[in-house]
């Protein structure tokens, strides 16, 4: 086919893609653009020209070793539902615009780390893009049948123009919006379409070769099985090859997350988390379909051409060989699709990184602060467009210098190994909050250097010097430093070897430095947000220790520079409403700072956003002293809490004491009421008697004389009782309230007992009760004689009261004990019932057993007696276990 015709086809095809991208941008909300199938197909940007052409080369030359690159993603896919979902969630929350942003934010918005990731991605992606250009260039030559002409200058190399076309496409649709975290629906739609086309065309050519040129798979198998090295091509080989497989699978497992273009489509362009559910089985299915015919096409090519020199392009060469130009053109377009999608998405992702993580934070920030919003937005777009062109042109030169000599497969693996250096800080950082920026930076640099040394340096040196001395003998001829057999490990393939050593060094550096150095508060805070992403909102709003001063107006100015006046005002309004703050709030708080940083992150990257916001915020570093002060304050709080607790305990103790006292008081009050009640009752009884008798006498004039005398006698008796009662009450009251003063004099206790017996002798004689004074020895101690007489008289009259007439006998005795005189009054009367022992000294207690007539007792006798004895510091009690009668004992202490 004429090369001009090919170019025209390319231009028509590109125009169609432009149109589709344009349509998709226009109908952003349509479900044709937002569905899980488009999402899954866009993930298939993973299958670039390397898959489309490169796999065949491996399959033809070394058998099934092309497979691990697809097995890694297949193994990774089920994990997406956990890992990728988390990444997507975090990215949406923080308006992440690239993988560089993602990693730098995880490590506390570290500007240097963002730049480092960008550089690694650039190094990793440039050869990859150049691989695509190489594929386009070589297939272009094949399809146009023009392999005699070798271009010598850039100007007449068609590949250069194709690269430019791709750059224009990427620049046009990749920089529609300043905010890079906005979705690029146009690009995603074309990528999905291209993914569909490349699969369809590949399956078509596979079917054509297998079933049209040959007689099905078994035909090819039978024919190839008789060739020389068939066995090698269909087996895994030795143990060393097992290691190679393992490392290749691990490598592809990681990069399917880390490749900038994969991160772009899988994370940043993800509309709904639930799309993942379909993708986790649809994407592996896509990869399976893509690989079905690879081995057969490779064998068919080998059988047809005999050599495997151009095995990568069997899909083009086979139909051309059989004169099927149409099918060859389709295959070319399929490959071209794979190239376009890879190049466009990669450059888009890289340009965002370059502008947000490299150019803006390291150069243009000051300029932005002074500029007008419209100009800023223009600047950012310009930076990105320039980046896109620069990247593609750089890739073109890489292709011109190196790629011509290398296979698609080996270039692809170089990219993979370099990109995999992000793995430790990316994956471990998601689940381990100790991972620090220092560890991440050192790990990446070390890993990157090892990868360069073991993989890139050998072939670049070879390309420059023309000798393979370095590869053969190692650095300075040291055996252990041989790039393909570092430290004697010589059984791995160069990429697996490079991957093994670089990732090992990277991982150990990361872990070691993370454990050795703790990040600052900001870093630890973001680490916590990533690791515990579910708790994100709380952490973001509360945990960030932020100390500083900023005015809302200043922050709004910064926001307006990048978002425009209208959007900035709207954003702040939303913020104030969300947090229920007044719309004219003057001072910004930590939440607003976070919110603003997040808003700007989409446009200029998180590191730059932080710097920009910091420029209007008087943010003070929190010094150790202040941290200590904060800790001290909380300690003081703890101490004062403790004091408070003690106080509260004291208070509750006091309360209970008060309660007790109160209860006692209530008790006393009740006792007083009862006392008054009883007194009233006792007083009323004689009065009733007097009143009734007087009334009877008054009303009955004819009353017989002796009856009248009896009534009058009753009146006298009751009056005496009343008088006695009143005296007793007064006495008792005086004793009870402590108003009684004892007149302590030396007295002979024997004489006092004699006086007491004399005073009751008349009633005793009347009842014929015998009173015996047992102890006739004099003994002098100090006491109030009148009061002790009262005690003795009371006890004696009680005894007489309970004694039987004629047989009654009372014995009064006293003993001298240890500094105490013990006086006892024993009778042979009815005795005191056991249950009454504790009550007999209570006021107004009257025994149920008393058999005398009532008027003689007041009910206060023993109560008063007890008071008097206690006033002398003595004791009074009724003796227990007395066989008959009662014995009451009281003591008077002496010195």
């Amino acid at each position: 086919m004429n090369s001009y015709a090919v170019i025209i086809i390319i231009i028509i095809y590109l125009a169609m893609l432009f149109y589709i991208a344009f349509l998709a941008e226009k109908k952003r909300q349509s479900k044709w653009v937002n569905n899980p199938y488009v999402y899954t197909l866009s993930l298939a940007v993973y299958c670039s020209a390397w898959t489309y052409y490169g796999s065949l080369g491996i399959a033809a030359n070394s058998g099934i070793h092309f497979l691990p690159i697809y097995l890694g993603p297949v193994i990774a896919a089920p994990l997406w539902i956990v890992v990728l979902r988390k990444i997507i969630r975090i990215s949406k929350q923080h308006k992440i615009s690239s993988i560089a942003d993602f990693i730098s934010l995880r490590y506390g918005n570290n500007r240097f780390l963002g730049a480092l990731v960008t550089v690694i991605c650039l190094f990793g992606t440039l050869p990859y893009i150049s691989l695509q250009l190489k594929a386009v260039s070589e297939t272009f030559e094949i399809i146009s049948g023009d392999n005699s002409y070798v271009s010598t200058t850039v100007i007449d190399d068609s590949t250069f123009y194709i690269a430019l076309l791709l750059a224009i496409f990427a620049a046009f649709f990749g920089t529609q919006n300043t905010d890079a975290s906005e979705k690029h629906k146009g690009i995603v739609a074309t990528v999905a379409l291209e993914s569909m086309l490349k699969l369809l065309f590949f399956l078509a050519i596979g079917t054509y070769i297998t079933f049209y040129l040959f007689d099905g798979t078994s035909d090819i198998y039978e024919k190839i099985s008789v060739t020389d090295n068939f066995k090698e091509l269909t087996t895994l080989g030795k143990v060393e090859d097992g290691f190679n497989w393992f490392f290749m699978i691990a490598l592809s497992f990681m990069v399917v997350f880390l490749l900038p273009r994969q991160f772009q489509v899988a994370v940043l362009e993800n509309n709904r988390e639930k799309h993942l559910k379909k993708a986790i089985w649809l994407f592996p299915l896509y990869l399976l379909l893509f690989n079905i015919f690879v081995i057969f096409i490779a064998w068919a090519g080998k059988l047809t051409f005999g050599s495997t020199e151009n095995a990568e392009y069997y899909t083009l060469l086979l139909p051309l060989e059989h004169g099927n130009t149409f099918l060859a053109t389709l295959v070319f377009l399929g490959g071209f699709s794979a190239v376009i999608s890879m190049v466009v998405v990669s450059t888009l992702a890289l340009s965002t990184m370059v502008s947000n993580n490299l150019v803006i934070p390291y150069g243009f920030l000051d300029k932005f602060i002074k500029n007008q919003p419209e100009r800023n937005s223009k600047y950012i777009k310009t930076i990105r467009r320039v980046s896109i062109f620069t990247i593609i042109i750089a890739a073109y030169f890489f292709y011109v210098i190196f790629s011509k000599a290398l296979s698609l497969y080996s270039i692809g693996l170089i990219s993979f190994v370099i990109i995999s250096q992000l793995a430790p800080s990316f994956f471990i950082g998601l689940y381990w909050n100790r991972g620090s920026s220092k560890g991440a930076i050192i790990g990446m640099i070390v890993g990157f250097c090892v990868a360069i040394y073991t993989l890139v340096l050998p072939f670049t040196l070879e390309a420059y010097t023309g000798t393979d001395d370095f590869r053969q003998y190692g650095l300075l001829g040291i055996e252990a430093l041989k790039p393909y057999a570092l430290f004697g490990i010589d059984f791995l393939s160069p990429p697996a070897h490079a991957f093994f050593w670089s990732i090992t060094f990277n991982l150990f550096s990361y872990l070691m430095f993370s454990l050795m150095s703790k990040g600052n508060y900001r870093e630890r805070n973001y680490a916590e947000m990533f690791v515990d992403s579910k708790n994100f909102t709380n952490l973001q709003d509360n945990a960030l220790v932020w100390k500083g001063e900023a005015y809302v107006a200043d922050i709004k100015n910064v926001l307006a520079r990048f978002l425009g006046e209208k959007r900035a005002t709207r954003a702040l309004k939303i913020f104030f409403t969300k947090y229920k703050l007044s719309q004219d709030t003057q001072l910004a708080d930590a939440r607003l700072i976070n919110f603003s940083e997040k808003l700007l992150t989409g446009s200029i990257g998180s590191a730059s956003a932080k710097i920009l916001i910091a420029s209007v915020v008087k943010e003070e570093q929190i010094s150790l002293v202040e941290v200590l002060k904060i800790l001290e304050e909380s300690k003081e709080n703890i101490v004062s809490n403790k004091v408070l607790l003690e106080k509260s305990n004291e208070l509750s103790q006091l309360t209970s004491q008060l309660k007790e006292a109160n209860e006692e008081l209530i008790d006393k009050d009740k006792q007083k009421d009862e006392f008054l009640d009883t007194v009233a009752h006792e007083l009323k009884t004689p009065i009733t008697g007097i009143r009734a008798a007087a009334e009877v006498i008054l009303d009955d004039e004819e009353m017989p004389k002796e009856i009248k005398a009896q009534f009058l006698k009753n009146i006298l008796q009751d009056s005496d009782r009343l008088g006695r009662l009143i005296n007793n009450i007064l006495d008792f009251e005086k004793l009870e309230t402590g108003g009684l003063h004892l007149d302590l004099q030396p007295q002979d206790i024997q004489k006092t007992i004699g006086k007491a017996i004399a005073s009751v002798s008349q009633i005793a004689a009347k009842k014929e009760v015998l009173i015996v004074n047992n102890n006739m020895h004099p003994f002098v101690i100090n006491y109030d004689e009148d009061r002790i007489l009262q005690v003795l008289t009371n006890l004696l009259s009680n005894a007489i009261k309970f004694c039987e007439t004629k047989t009654g006998k009372i014995i009064v005795d006293y003993k001298i004990g240890n500094q105490v005189v013990e006086i006892s009054v024993a009778d042979n009367g009815k005795g005191i019932p056991e249950e009454d022992f504790i009550y007999i000294f209570d006021k107004f207690y009257q025994s149920k057993n008393q058999n005398t007539r009532k008027p003689e007792g007041s009910g206060l006798g023993l109560a008063i007696t007890k008071q008097i004895v206690e006033k002398h510091k003595g004791k009074i009690w009724a003796k227990k276990d007395i066989k008959n009668g009662a014995t009451l004992v009281f003591t008077i202490p002496f010195e």
Partner: protein, 121 residues
């Protein structure tokens, strides 16, 4: 037929005035010094009315009343409390237990007589 009255009180002087007056009014009078004595008398006699003090040794007035009102052969007997306990709560308690009247000390003998007369005719 002679009306019968049982006077239950542990104060002999008070009992004496009441006994004298009711005898003069033509009552047959029984005397008990406390509840247990009263219950003993009620075994053999059925008075028309019982004049009952409350605060007494052994069996008190409340117990005596309860016994009377719960005994089928006795419960028709009118019971009048005559006591120094004059708080409203005491009066309420006495009447709620089934006393027909509640009179307080000190009292007018004439008034007691008329109240009792009113009750038994």
């Amino acid at each position: 037929m002679k009306k019968k009255i049982l006077i239950v009180d542990d104060e002999p002087n008070i009992v004496m005035s009441l006994e004298y007056t009711f005898k003069k009014q033509g009552f047959e009078v029984f005397i008990a010094r406390d509840g247990s004595e009263a219950l003993e008398i009620l075994k053999h006699h059925t008075p028309n009315v019982v004049l009952l003090d409350i605060m007494m040794p052994n069996v008190d007035g409340y117990q005596t009343l309860t016994f009377i009102k719960e005994t089928e052969s006795l419960k028709h007997i009118k019971v009048v409390f005559l006591t120094a306990k004059n708080k409203a709560s005491d009066v309420e308690k006495g009447l709620s237990l089934g006393a027909d009247k509640y009179l307080t000390k000190p009292f007018s003998v004439k008034k007691i007589v008329s109240e009792i007369q009113e009750l038994v005719t």
